[in-house]
Symmetry: C2
Subunit: 125 residues, 2 copies
């Protein structure tokens, strides 16, 4: 039976808290899920990544670029039958420059047929 | 000239912090703006309120039902060309029952032609 919105939302948050993000990509996401950044990461680029392999690539890039120092996760916050939001507050160290930074973002997740089909990130700028 | 997404987002947050919510409804919202709760407030009801007069009515109802004790507002968090999110953490007293409660919600705002045309609230449940 398909997971409910609430089950998916709590599984995603629990996974982030226990270091199971990679397992969650396989368990909770649709193969053709789309990930949308707040803006394009490069001039002329697209803010959208299509497909679970691309989303895994984003996670791998992030982990190669940043060391996770600590942080908090708030939520999930539910909306209607098919969406939830999560607030991430993360302290990171840039592996290349050593710069320590605090990042805050809101993720909005869209669920269809028991899988996450779209994630959208909102940043402070 | 129409306000930019960033200007509107900061004006909304600043208004919430300084008690200018009512002025902001007139200044920042489109006349036909839609407000969407996380779920219908009554069985069989709709979670949607259409039009600025209805949204003003929601605010008036909230103020008649709850006393604002304190809280914090985080954001705005921007996404793309037309959306922003705000995190509200509010302590309230129910004016009828006296019950003190903590409410957390995420608001996602859609902007078009320099006005807020849709707001969607996400709750912890």
């Amino acid at each position: 039976m398909a997971m409910t919105l609430k089950e998916i939302a709590h599984a995603l948050v629990d996974g982030c808290k226990t270091g199971k993000e990679a397992e969650n990509l396989d368990a909770l996401y649709a193969p053709d899920a789309v990930s949308v950044e707040a803006m394009a990461m490069a001039p002329g680029g697209s803010p959208e990544t299509h497909g679970i392999d691309g989303i895994k690539g984003k996670h791998a890039w992030w982990e190669s670029a940043f060391e996770f120092l600590g942080g908090s996760i708030e939520g999930p916050y539910l909306h209607g039958a098919d969406r939830f939001a999560v607030v991430f507050k993360v302290q990171t160290r840039n592996r290349e420059t050593g710069a320590v930074d605090a990042m805050e973002e809101v993720g909005v997740y869209h669920v269809k047929d028991g899988k996450i089909v779209r994630e959208e990130f909102f940043y402070t700028m």
